[in-house]
Amino acid sequence: MEFIRNYPLFTIVLSLFSGVLCYMLKPAAAKIYTLVFEGLLIGMVGCVLFYVIVTGQPFTYVMGEFPAPWGNEIRAGILEAMIALLFLIVEICSISAGHRFLVIDMDESKRNLYFTLVNLMTAALMALVWTNDLFTGYVFLEILTLTSCGVLIVREIGRTTLAAVRYMILNLLGSGLFLLGVVLLYDLTGHLLMVPMRQTIAELARDPQVLPVLGVAVGILTIGLSIKSGLFPFHFWMPDTYGWASPTSAALLSSLVSKAYIFLLFKTYYRAIGIDVIEQLPIRNVLLVLGIGGIVVGSLQAIHTNNLNHMVAYSSAAQIGYIYMGIGLGTMAGYTAAMFHIMAHAITKSQLFVTTPRLAEVSGGTLKFQDLQGAGLKSKVAGLYFTLGAFSMIGIPIFAGFSSKLLFALAAVGQGSHKKIILVMLALAVSSMLNALYFVMTLIRIFTPEGKLEKDDLRHHHINYHLPMVLLTAANLMLGLKSDLVVSLIERGLSMFG
């Protein structure tokens, strides 16, 4: 067995160890260690991605001496490796670019704890991406929940504590429902590993007596994960959570954590329950409708709000809606578009969330629109990066956002039902218009000169900020310009995902 096959295990175990290690380190050392370690992980996951592309086969890795269905298992294919690589790149960029604000937000004596949480979060993200076992999914989902509440409360101001409490209550509700779903599935099938579970469910689904029970189990599990990822109508926690968090935390939560939940849900559908069984249940259509609801309502609320971060957060609700819409279409093209949009949105949103605090900083520390006038001119660098992110969100060609919207449209046309084509096309048209409306409005606002311009203090923008921003922009452009390459990789990944 090639040594590369061990790398997924290493990413999880070493991240857990790094979390414990950062508890012992001084804050400065913890930061450097975390960045170097993330670099190492990117190298490892890159190797895994390259390996599975070359061999063209996914591989399973038995955790211990007991094979499935008795012991735990992880599994790596092209899609998993791509998502893991994306998560790590976005994470390292957010940490590096947001660190200046973390220094302001968090007391020196506790700052190493932040990196402890970040490393534990990495472990949980990696485990959720690689796992081939539903209960392992639940355990690391718990770690992800706790760490995401932890990175929220670091600012220690009333609003973040309140937001964290609300976020935690909803997340625990979501975890509980997910666990209930897993328990029901276990009771029906007697398996927790995904592949044996799917084989049993395929037999069970023929029995009309069992199908409704299966439907309830899958439904509860879906509600749990959609609360956690913020699907409409469960998106109301987003503005407070993302809006008041420390920039790195906001970027991590919106770009990675909610995506990890969606990825786990998708994996559960695809690998543990089976697409043909999902097709017999009404869940796909519900997801489609709720996704479209999220797109429209999220965009409308983004227009109504008076706070830049809240606007970006509501736009997240709309983007989550896109992803669920893709899953709800229930075709290969739909899933491909959804996976592509996970990547496009993760890259873009993290970029937006680490630029907005700088815009607020130059306009007197407020995120209210009327005070942001000219912020993009006062800090040209932040203005430029914000503009690039906004272009991608609107869906201007050559950026990632355009490609994913195109993919959604193609996926809608590619499937049979006329109603769905009309629904999706309308949603895409309306949301593109609304997106353009609120982002262009913001751009005009921040680039309208006001008062005397001071020279942009470049001291705030050294390489630690520029490099991640350039990297994220480059990734964004790559997804936009080379989307055919990424799409073909996702398609290959999906074909070996089951």
Binding site: R5, N6, L9, F10, V13, L16, F17, G19, V20, L21, Y23, M24, V62, M63, G64, E65, F66, P69, W70, G71, N72, I74, D107, S109, K110, L113, L117, L120, A123, A124, D133, F135, T136, V139, F140, E142, I143, L146, T147, C149, G150, I153, V154, E156, T161, L184, D187, L188, T189, G190, H191, L192, P196, T200, L204, Q209, V210, P212, V216, A217
Partner: protein, 268 residues
């Protein structure tokens, strides 16, 4: 405006009750259709059968539950043991004293509270019960910890009992007494060593298992105290982490720091 809010509140309550009733109905309907308890269902017993029939032989642990969670499905438990650590870090961030959450205007308030706590610690009933109870509690905790592979118990439950004993100790004899032994540095070191050992020991077993190598962990004779392979050392590691974390929670909730707090005492 006020009327509309009232109406909304009423409507909200009604909808919430309806949603709950619906959920209850759906769940009851589902439970009624699940396979009956104890029913022999050939489809669902494949995994359980092996755990029960070959568990002792394959893991070396008489307590099949310990064998399951620490050997067959050890990866889940590896995550589970870090959940507690994550919670400790979150509580430290939230309640640990620092420049930001210790504003000057609260100082007097904190001082009064702090002194009151220490007066409470001199309670004679608590002290007497502590003298009698503490040795038994620690022994019982250690007993449960060490017997995880033989009988119900193990790291989590044994550690929780030892943590509770530490809490009674602090409550009865005051934090100054505990601080002589139990400092933040000790908690850090113990947690670090225990969790690192856990991660690497299990990582090693996963690695050798997946690569088809011999892992050289002796299984021991089932029924003896030294049996079950790695289960005993892992239980001890988890037990220490749980005990330290529980006392850490108590200490953080009561005075905002683990162990002796220099910055605070200097102000007195």
């Amino acid at each position: 405006m006020k009327n509309r809010k009232k109406l909304f509140d009423k409507l909200y309550n009604v909808v919430a009750v309806i949603c709950c009733l619906l959920l209850i109905g759906v769940l009851l309907y589902t439970v009624a259709r699940l396979p009956h308890y104890g029913e022999e269902n050939p489809r669902t017993v494949e995994v359980v059968e092996r755990y029960v029939e070959r568990g002792v032989e394959e893991t070396g642990a008489v307590n099949i539950v310990a064998g399951m969670i620490l050997d067959y499905r050890a990866f889940d438990t590896l995550g589970e043991s870090h959940v507690l650590f994550t919670a400790l870090i979150c509580v430290l961030i939230l309640l640990g004293k620092d420049e930001k959450n210790m504003r000057k205007e609260f100082d007097s308030y904190y001082t009064v509270e702090y002194e009151n706590y220490h007066k409470l610690a001199g309670d004679s009933i608590l002290r007497l019960v502590g003298y009698l109870l503490l040795p038994c509690l620690f022994l019982f905790g250690i007993y449960i910890l060490l017997n995880g592979q033989l009988s119900p118990g193990g790291g989590f439950s044994g550690g929780a009992i030892m943590g509770a004993a530490l809490i009674i100790f602090a409550a009865g004899f005051g934090f100054e007494t505990v601080d002589k032994v139990f400092t933040e540095k000790l908690l850090k070191t113990v947690t670090f060593i225990a969790l690192t050992f856990y991660s690497f020991a299990k990582g090693y077993v996963f690695f050798t298992g997946a690569n088809g190598l011999e892992n050289h962990v002796p299984k021991g004779i089932p029924g003896m105290i030294l049996s079950g392979g790695l289960i005993l050392p892992l239980d001890i590691a988890v037990g220490f982490v749980v005990a330290c974390t529980m006392f850490g929670f108590y200490s953080l909730f009561r005075r905002g720091s683990i162990g002796h707090d220099h910055t605070f005492m200097d102000q007195q």
